[in-house]
C-alpha cells in the first residue's frame, strides 16, 4: 500500500466510542483505500507505468524493469552500422521469443538511455519499427519481456554526428 492510502486509511478523530454512521463510513473508506492500494500494487508489478524515462544510466533502467536480461539470438535488432546523423536513425526490432509481450529500446550513451517501450497486444506481431536519436556511437539494446522474463540483444551503432544536443 502506498504512503498516500496508508495515510488516508488511518482513522483520524477523537478517541473513544465512534458514532455508528461514522464507524460505517470509516469501514467503507478503509475498504476503498485497501482496494485502491491493491490496484496500485498491481500496477507497480507491471513496472511499465513507472518506467524511468529520466534515468541517466542504462543499468538503472534495467533495474527498474526487473533486472538484467538474458542475452538471446532470438531478437533481431536492425539499425545501420554507421549513421551520418544521429538525429534520425531507423531502428526495427523483431522478436522470435515465444510469448513476447513487450519490446523496449535502450541507447547507452543517450542522456536518457530509455528510448521507447511498446506493449504488444495478443494478435500483434512482436515487431516494431521507428526512428530514434542517438547522442553518439554507443551500444543499443533491445529488451523483450516474455512470460515475465527479460531477454536482450545488443548492437553497436556508430554515429558521425550526435542527435541529442544541437
Amino acid at each position: 500500500m502506498c504512503a498516500w492510502s496508508a495515510m488516508h486509511g488511518e482513522p483520524i478523530g477523537p478517541a473513544g466510542p465512534v458514532a455508528p454512521d461514522r464507524r460505517e463510513w470509516l469501514q467503507r473508506s478503509a475498504l476503498i483505500v485497501a482496494w485502491l492500494g491493491a490496484g496500485l500494487g498491481v500496477r507497480d508489478a507491471h513496472a511499465s507505468r513507472t518506467l524511468p524515462f529520466d534515468a541517466t544510466l542504462l543499468s538503472d533502467v534495467l533495474r527498474a524493469m526487473g533486472g538484467r536480461p538474458t542475452p538471446t539470438p532470438s531478437i533481431e535488432l536492425d539499425l545501420p552500422d554507421l549513421s551520418e546523423d544521429g538525429v534520425m536513425v531507423p531502428v526495427a526490432v523483431t522478436s522470435r521469443v515465444p510469448g513476447t509481450e513487450q519490446i523496449t529500446l535502450l541507447a547507452e550513451a543517450n542522456p536518457y538511455p530509455l528510448v521507447f517501450q511498446v506493449d504488444v497486444a495478443p494478435g500483434t506481431e512482436a515487431y516494431v519499427s521507428t526512428r530514434v536519436k542517438l547522442a553518439r556511437s554507443c551500444t543499443v539494446m533491445a529488451v523483450v519481456r516474455a512470460d515475465g522474463r527479460l531477454y536482450s540483444t545488443t548492437r553497436v551503432a556508430n554515429v558521425t554526428l550526435g542527435g541529442c544536443g544541437g
Binding site: V115, T124, T130, R131, K133, C164
Partner: protein
C-alpha cells in the same frame, strides 16, 4: 492538438501492416534557439493504437524518439474496412486522436 497524423494500414495476407506518422517536435529540452535560449522539452509520452475497438499496441516514449515519430507494426484479427484509431498524449498534456480505414 498538433497536425493530423498520417495513418496507412493495408491487409497483406492474413496480417495488417500499419504505418503511422505523428507530426510532433519531440523537443529534447537540450537544444537552444538562435537567441541562445533553451527550448523547453516537448515530446509524445504515450501512443495507444486500437483496431476495431481492440488494443493493438501501446507505446511509451521519451525524448529519444526522432521528431515526427513514425511507427510501423503488424497485427492480425482485422480486415479491410475496419477502423484503426491512434491516440497520442504528450508531456504538456496535449493529445490527439486520428483514425483510418484498413485498406
Amino acid at each position: 492538438m498538433g497536425d493530423p497524423m498520417r495513418i496507412r494500414a493495408r491487409v497483406k495476407g492474413d496480417v495488417v501492416e500499419a504505418h503511422v506518422l505523428m507530426p510532433h517536435p519531440m523537443e529534447t529540452g537540450f537544444r537552444h534557439d538562435d537567441g541562445g535560449t533553451l527550448i523547453e522539452a516537448h515530446y509524445i509520452t504515450e501512443i495507444r493504437i486500437e483496431a476495431g475497438g481492440r488494443p493493438v499496441m501501446t507505446a511509451r516514449m521519451g525524448i529519444g524518439v526522432s521528431a515526427d515519430p513514425i511507427l510501423t507494426f503488424r497485427f492480425r484479427g482485422a480486415a479491410k474496412g475496419d477502423r484503426i484509431d491512434v491516440a497520442w498524449t504528450d508531456n504538456r498534456g496535449d493529445a490527439r486522436t486520428d483514425s483510418a480505414i484498413v485498406g
